[in-house]
């Protein structure tokens, strides 16, 4: 506890609609989708045909560049449909679920007693290798590499984020097994970051075989990228891996029970959610299954949090990495004299140009309105740096990305960030630029040029 890292910069967005800590139903979807775009950097090769039988853990997709990396089915059943988009791009594989679930058996093992190769093989075969994210760039981890270290964030500060202790508190044994397995893959150790507020009450401070850190501060203190930059910043030619706590639990269950079990508690939340609460379900669950949470009107369904989640729509599916579905009203209404009103009591602003800072406790029913038009960057770098607790000049980095200047991007810290780390910069931007998109394009350019 003595070396707590206190982050002064950041912003907690006071948005309404956090989920009650109750699992109100268990959803067993009759169809699940395996969506290749959940995995950044995956070039999918299809391994199944329509009508094929699969078990939970059977391979569905493989990576073309790295055929050992598999994406597997979260359920047992029959491949119902292979959905393709323009230019025959593979969009999703729909799998009809059996009434009785059968799991492919990977064998119960104690990860402590396994070798690196054995751990790697089990992870690759089970499809859980795809749960490991490699930085820089936030892509699929390369099995041939040995990363400098592996980082896990054991708390989430994103708006309306599911409560880690409620969601995973009773899976401590699985997380511990997952940490044990992951520690075999690196010489730099598994770094787990905890929130200093509830350090002693969370079960995860008892994790062994891990290097624990504590953080305090507002969002994005819970982002693993921010934590890495304070623990050991990523430099050129280094790779680190990150695993979410949720995925660490899944990896643990794979070793403890020998099965590919992605079952999770998902927070269905947001200002447009009716009676927000948790459901227990699998990734790839169709949004249709939770339609009872969706209120009246034009609602945006986001898999993930409001800042960096993906808009999936009412026909979409829960993402592989997500345990949060956020429902928001589409803010397509105009507001007469909106910006000119001295007070707008129902609008939040992080800036003091409105008076919402006088009501620090108030929560707001936010919608997707942009609240302005796109402009060139006018405010200075320090305006954006105020919500980015990293040793980086965000506006300089964003402008380097816009210019496509590889050298500048490299110097200014493109290796350390993923779009999600700059999500708050995008949120507060009065010029309404799509900063996360700009950063993602910069990262794509780096991948392309550095390959």
């Amino acid at each position: 506890m003595s070396n707590n890292i206190d982050l002064k910069k950041g912003l907690n967005i006071p948005i309404k609609g956090s989920a009650r800590p109750v699992v109100c139903k268990t959803v067993v979807p009759d169809t699940v989708a395996v969506v290749p775009s959940d995995f950044k950097g995956l070039v999918p090769r299809l391994l199944v045909k329509e009508g094929d039988r699969v078990l939970a853990g059977s391979p569905v997709l493989a990576d073309k560049k790295n055929p050992d990396i598999l994406v597997t089915s979260p359920v047992s059943g029959t491949v119902k449909e292979i959905v393709r988009g323009e230019k025959r791009k593979l969009l999703e594989v729909l799998i009809g679920t059996d009434s009785e679930q059968e799991y492919l058996d990977f064998g119960c093992k104690r990860p402590e007693s396994l070798s690196t190769d054995e751990v790697r093989t089990v992870l690759l075969q089970s499809g859980l290798w795809a749960a490991i994210v490699q930085r820089p760039y936030g892509i699929l981890a390369d099995p041939a590499l040995k990363p400098k270290a592996i980082f896990i964030s054991a708390f989430n500060t994103a708006p309306l984020a599911p409560d880690t202790e409620f969601v995973l508190g009773d899976e401590f044994a699985a997380v511990q097994a997952g940490v044990n397995a992951l520690s075999k893959l690196t010489d730099g150790g598994v770094h787990v970051s905890l929130k200093s507020d509830n350090y002693s009450s969370t079960p995860f401070h008892k994790l062994e075989n891990a290097i624990l850190h504590t953080f305090s501060g507002k969002h994005p203190a819970g982002n693993v990228g921010v934590q890495i930059s304070h623990i050991a910043p990523i430099r050129k030619d280094e790779t680190v891996w990150t695993v979410s706590l949720l995925m660490a639990a899944a990896i643990g269950k794979l070793f403890l029970k020998g099965k590919y079990d992605l079952c999770r508690k998902v927070a269905v939340c947001g200002p447009a959610a009716v009676d927000p609460a948790y459901v227990e379900t699998l990734p790839g669950m169709p949004v249709k299954e939770i339609v009872s949470f969706i209120g009246e009107g034009d609602i945006r369904v986001v898999s993930g949090d409001v800042l960096s989640g993906r808009c999936v729509g009412k026909d979409g599916y829960l993402g592989f990495f997500d345990n949060q579905v956020t429902l928001l009203k589409e803010g397509a209404d105009t507001e007469l004299f909106g910006w000119a009103k001295p007070f707008r009591f129902n609008q939040f602003s992080a800036s003091r140009s409105y008076f919402s800072w006088l009501l620090p406790k108030k929560q707001y029913g936010m919608d997707t309105n942009l609240h302005g038009g796109p402009r060139a960057f006018v405010m200075s770098d320090s305006y954006y740096a105020g919500v980015l607790p990293m040793d980086i000049y965000p506006l300089y980095l964003v402008k380097a990305c816009l210019a496509g200047d590889i050298d500048k991007m490299e110097q200014l810290g493109i290796y350390e960030v993923l779009p999600e780390d700059l999500a708050l910069c995008e949120y507060i931007d009065p010029s309404k630029n799509y900063i996360q998109d700009i950063v993602q394009h910069g990262i794509d350019l780096m991948i392309q040029e550095m390959a």
Binding site: R352, S382, P419, Y427
Partner: protein, 381 residues
């Protein structure tokens, strides 16, 4: 928006204009397409309107002062302090300046936005608010129109519009006037508005207090019979000068609004004051002048420039350490010019323009130092 204004419609050339008026009246129903699904309710319109509001005290005082200075110059120190008639006189004098500044500037701004196919940026609302306040009240309108056109076109639009410009457009307007028509911008001819046939009182001067500063405290004290030049007079602002620059009190009100809402950087303001005080003090110590450093702060355009113009987020330094350096430079250069350039006493305009010019270099140094430090840390680790 009516289809006729959309791309391909007959009146497409008015697209940006219509869009500007529409979004001026109401916040549009545009939704975030990607990235963060919710957005802060602040936008550039809000930031600009707050900046504009912060200038209003200085503008109102300036209008009154134009009338008051007229009364003083014609009737002598016993002139009536009647607020309304003085204000009305000044209002009628300043209103045409506003009409020209906004008319010419916004026309170019709207046309350029249309040519670029963008929405109209709100930046000019602030520039247009400032321009009439930093020129002599009797500047001929056609000169002002040319100067505004030059500043907006060559100071801003050729770089790509607000956000891309290097120099503060309002100051560029003043610089253009100053170098093209020096007769109207210095000396004693244009600071006090006179009606046709009216003459200055015996012993009265049309010059600003600042123009006496080069000759020391005695000259300043004996400036003209009609206005006082004590620190308090200068602080309140009952002296001739550019329309809005004279009253430190009104400018301080604006500064409070800007700082309280966080629209302008307090670092720039503080360091600019520090720079001016330091050089003013050094001037006293070395015997270059006997004007106290504190008086430098209330003279001429220093306060106005520090609060409203040096803090422009686009043309000032971007980084936090850079802001300290930039502000200090602006304040220091301003007083240096005042002390060592008897021909041209008002140093603030050139100080800020010079600061603007060097701001990218300052930032470059700050960012590179930061990168070097990071690289060194990486090598050690």
């Amino acid at each position: 928006m009516n289809k006729i204004f959309e791309k391909g419609g007959k009146l497409y050339f008015l697209h940006s204009t219509i869009d500007a008026f529409e979004t001026f009246l109401k916040v549009p129903g545009t939704v975030a397409k990607k990235g963060a699904h919710i957005r802060d309710s602040v936008d550039l319109k809000r930031i600009m309107i707050i900046a504009v509001i912060s200038v209003i005290p200085a503008a109102l005082f300036g209008m009154w002062n134009v009338g008051y200075q007229h009364a003083l110059a014609v009737q002598g120190p016993g002139a009536p302090l009647d607020i309304w008639s003085n204000f009305w006189f000044g209002f009628l004098k300043v209103l045409p300046l506003y009409i020209v500044a906004y008319g010419v500037g916004l026309f170019i701004e709207f046309a350029s936005a249309q040519i670029r196919g963008e929405e109209v940026n709100e930046g000019y609302l602030m520039s247009g608010m400032l321009i009439p306040l930093i020129v002599p009240v009797d500047v001929p309108l056609w000169m002002l129109a040319i100067a505004v056109a030059f500043a907006v076109l060559f100071g801003k639009e050729v770089f790509g519009g607000t956000g891309m410009n290097i120099w503060n457009p309002a100051l560029l307007t003043r610089a253009f006037l100053f170098f093209s028509y020096p007769d109207h911008m210095s000396g004693s001819g244009s600071w006090i508005a006179l009606r046709k046939g009216e003459n200055l009182l015996d012993g009265a001067t049309g010059a600003t207090p600042l123009s006496f500063v080069g000759d020391g405290m005695d000259a300043l004290t004996g400036a003209g019979v009609q206005y006082g030049t004590s620190f308090w007079d200068l602080f309140v602002g009952t002296v001739p000068g550019s329309v809005g620059e004279t009253s430190a009190i009104a400018i301080l009100l604006g500064a409070i609004i800007l700082l309280w809402t966080g629209v302008a950087s307090w670092k720039i303001m503080v360091s600019s004051v520090a720079g001016a005080l330091l050089v003013g003090w050094l001037g006293n110590v070395c015997g270059a002048t006997d004007v106290p450093a504190l008086t430098q702060l209330v003279l001429g355009g220093f306060a106005f420039g520090t609060v409203f113009m040096a803090t422009d987020p686009v043309t000032s330094a971007q980084t936090e350490p850079g802001k300290w350096i930039y502000g200090f430079l602006v304040g220091a250069i301003c007083v240096v010019v005042r002390l060592f350039n008897p021909g041209y006493a008002e140093g603030m305009m050139l100080a800020i323009l010079l600061g603007n010019t060097f701001a990218p270099l300052i930032d470059w140094c700050v960012v590179n130092r930061h990168l070097a430090r990071k690289a060194r840390k990486a090598r050690i680790a």
